[in-house]
Amino acid sequence: MRFDDVGPIPVTAAIANDPRDYSPGADAGGGFASPAPLLVGADDASVVIRLTTDVAYRTQPARSIVADLGQIVPLGADLAQRMETALHEALANAVIRGNLELAKPRHGGLDGYVEQEMMINRLLMQNPELSRRMVTVWVRWTETEIEISVQDEGQGYPARPGDATGDGRGLYIIRAFCDRMCANDGGRRLSMTFAR
């Protein structure tokens, strides 16, 4: 069966279960802009996980999310590897292109990317409005499929897969590693479906 496109991720219910205050200036429990990722909603066929931009960037949590998911939904080694890679790419896009609204450096080779990394670290340290934007991961499953949606809170961007050597490399990897991919909400949400 296919998942219905039911519109927005049900984070309203998730937020209602999240006791912490993510507003700028608040200490949500882990010090400045660093509350731990939190499982904020779960039932017998879905989980919702929310992370701040800061935590998503610094912890690169795809592996731990997939490992935890594997405790609930059995995943073979091949599926877990494809899922971890695709989720890592989707989270990187959600954080860097989405919530931090940064385009790729156009020039400067490796130096350009090193400078962008320094800029990202400055934004995460000094701009709570950006660093506390949320990334929401919504996982749903049936007997035959698992769908992972990653939602950011940026302005949106055109999510166009490129090829392996140029722009859109991350989306190219995601498309190669999942069975279906689609972007919604102006590029703020990417959904990846994997056959079980």
């Binding site: 890679t85 890592h88 790419e89 490796l110 990317y113 090193v114 962008q116 991350g170 590693f177």
Partner: protein, 100 residues
């Protein structure tokens, strides 16, 4: 994250851990070591790398451009698991010398 060594016209860097979007600075340092050498080929050993992302692939492509400017090939050696799969999906065998 990396060790470099020079021998017999080959500059070799052995990477370990992960190569992802927070590693541009360390990778640039390694790339400078390799490119500054007089070696005829620049080799990276991936035997200790267990995960690479699209940013890591991009770093390798930028190193390839720099090495290509002096006519030297980049050799990607000993990739395992997820890294080997990423190289295959990205058809890196058509861009680099990929060795087992």
């Amino acid at each position: 994250m990396f060790n470099t060594s020079l021998s017999d016209g080959n500059a070799l860097a052995a990477l370990s851990g992960q190569l992802t979007f927070t590693d541009h600075g360390a990778f640039r340092d390694m790339a400078r070591h390799l490119v500054a050498s007089k070696a005829g080929r620049l080799t990276i050993d991936f035997g200790g790398v267990e995960f690479i992302d699209s940013a890591g692939l991009g770093m390798l492509l930028l190193l390839r451009e720099e090495a290509g400017a002096t006519g030297r090939p980049v050799v990607l050696r000993n990739a395992q698991g997820q890294v080997k799969r990423m190289f295959a999906v990205s058809r890196f065998d058509t861009l680099f010398v990929v060795e087992p």
